[in-house]
Amino acid sequence: MTTVRPLTIDAVRRDHAMGKLVLAVGMLLVPSLSLLAQSPPTHRPGAGAIPPGAIGAQRLMRGGPLLGYTQPVELRAPEGIILSAVSGAGYSTAHDQRMLVGMAVGCVYGFKAVGVPSYPEIELYPSVELVDRLYPPPGKALRFPVPIELTADDLRIAAQGGLVTRVIYVEDPRTALPVVELNGQQWFEARTGDDPLALADAMGRPIAILRIGSRLASPGGSAFAEPMMLAKESTDDPRVLPATASLP
């Protein structure tokens, strides 16, 4: 007589086997979590090529005291260049050479630059994307704005049809070059194919991205965020003035 027995595995052994399997998977994941935890807050390779606004948005997702903070930014242009901020409401008051504005991390701000030497008819619309902020002592924010320089060379290249991207970063003081900052901000050229954001990550902490090349105030129909016009060094606290807007 043949005895038919159900094909079952001992319940306790099965539970234990399942538990050990999941435990092994968990133990394999723990080192990867620690690696993830130790990763420096840098940008991904290739991030410099993604559309404006995306890098700042990614930075916001990484957390930190960024939301709600207005970072003073000073745009500096060579003599003869007239700058004004661009927004959906129009243009701000034109400024000669220097312009102090407040920006928020993650937004893209548009500006208008006219008066490029040898190209008087060209209107350039550089954009600035803030990807991080500074942490000055309280009350000193206006003394130390993020300097963004629009050099004559950059403007000339843009007027000739090129797209210039500048990633402005805070130098790491331990690896900073022992040279004096004489003629404006120090900068170096990224080779063709290099990601400027990745290079800036290696040299310090990227703060802002300047793009010069657009000839339209609203490229692709999009609108730039409107920067806050800041008073320079009037009080400890930045005095926020409404942007004087006029229709284009």
């Binding site: 930190g64 000055p136 990633v167 003081p173 900068w187 170096f188």
Partner: protein
């Protein structure tokens, strides 16, 4: 038995495993390397760099209240003994002296060579640089006349279309003065501390207005000067909080002393014939732009009860600080020399010609230009 296995609870893990999983999860969440904490910006990078060791050990750094948390790359620091400790060989060769280190090296009566780091001074002086990348969309066919080709392309398109509203910067309390009673430090002075051999007149004209303090002139810590010393000692960073005690330390393991909240640590001089050097470093400015000049004042004191011999005070400047020629002054007779370090900045060195008796001290000043 078969019915119990067919129930939905069978899909769950065994009880012993579930408990283990919960414990492991709790331990992970409470540990310093929890991914949730580290994925965000590290918790205490805006603290001075000397607290890095504490961050590694204790995971939490004591940032001043209300201080925004951020990285410390915007500060220029000088002083202390960072990373590898400074030492001296038998033939008086200094080893382990790195950028930003400021130490005093001296010899005791019984032939020992000791190293004492100074306090650490930080200045808010961020410097910016840029990486440029140029793309020519037209390649070799460079346009000569932009308007003729209907130049209406957009180099890039904005993704974010938010119009931010108005707002103001978050403002915080600037500092807390008089947090500690003025008598706190006075009560901990060693006997005879007031009998300084260094007269005020000796340092008149040597120190700047920012360093016109009793701690500089006489080496006596006055509680009423705490806020001023705090401001200039740990310039932009440690105005507030419990960190004013670091101006009273004698350099014996800088990080350990910085962590202590009891200002009396330095005065535990139970061992007889033990010379101890105290170095207090002050900066004239809290913040600086490239090109600005900053003056540093180093006050050194023998706070032990034995003379200090062959005292050498060394300051290895960071690369962004450039020594202003002929600006070094000293209230005592000392040989001042400068040597260039491997990073391109200078190492300033004062070798005192005479031994420093107990309760004696002096002042060194020099100016640097922020690059």
């Amino acid at each position: 038995m078969a019915e119990s296995h067919a129930s939905p609870t069978w899909l769950l893990m065994p009880r012993w495993f579930r408990r283990g999983l919960m414990i492991a999860t709790l331990l992970t969440m409470c540990s310093c390397s929890a991914s949730g904490q580290s994925l965000a910006w590290p918790a205490c990078q805006s603290c001075p760099a000397e607290q890095t060791d504490q961050c590694d050990k204790h995971c939490v750094c004591e940032c001043p209240p209300g201080w925004p948390v951020g990285p410390s790359d915007e500060y220029l620091c000088d002083g202390g003994d960072n990373a590898s400790p400074v030492g001296a060989t038998h033939d008086n060769q200094i080893v382990g002296l790195e950028q930003e280190d400021t130490v005093g090296i001296y010899r005791t009566d019984d032939g020992r060579t000791l190293v004492a780091p100074s306090t650490r001074t930080c200045i808010y002086a961020p410097r910016f640089a840029a990486v440029r990348h140029v793309v020519q969309p037209m390649g070799a066919q460079q346009r000569m006349f932009v308007d003729e080709v209907g130049d209406a392309f957009a180099a890039a398109e904005s993704e974010l279309r938010l119009l931010p509203g108005t707002g103001v910067l978050n403002t915080t309390l600037r500092q807390q003065r008089g947090e500690r009673p003025p008598s706190l430090f006075r009560g901990r002075q060693q006997a005879g501390a007031a009998e300084r051999l260094l007269a005020v007149a000796e340092t008149r004209g040597l120190v700047g207005p920012y360093a016109n303090l009793q701690i500089v002139h006489l080496g006596v810590m006055n509680g009423q000067e705490n806020p001023i010393v705090m401001r200039h000692s740990l310039a932009a960073i440690t105005w507030t909080g419990d960190q004013e005690v670091q101006v009273t330390i004698s350099g014996q393991g800088a990080s350990a002393v910085f962590a202590a909240k009891q200002p009396g640590l330095i005065y535990e001089l139970g061992v007889p014939s033990s010379p101890r050097l105290r170095l207090v470093k002050l900066a004239s400015e809290n913040e600086a732009h490239p090109g600005d000049e900053v003056e540093f004042t180093l006050r050194f004191d023998n706070v032990g009860d034995a003379p200090i011999r062959d005292l050498v005070i060394v300051d290895n400047l960071t690369t962004r600080l450039e020594y202003v020629e002929d600006s070094a002054k000293a209230s005592v007779d000392a040989d001042f020399t400068t040597t260039r370090n491997e990073a391109g900045s200078l190492v300033l060195s004062w070798a005192l010609k005479e031994s420093l008796k107990p309760r004696e001290g002096g002042v060194l000043t020099f100016r640097v230009r922020v690059r």
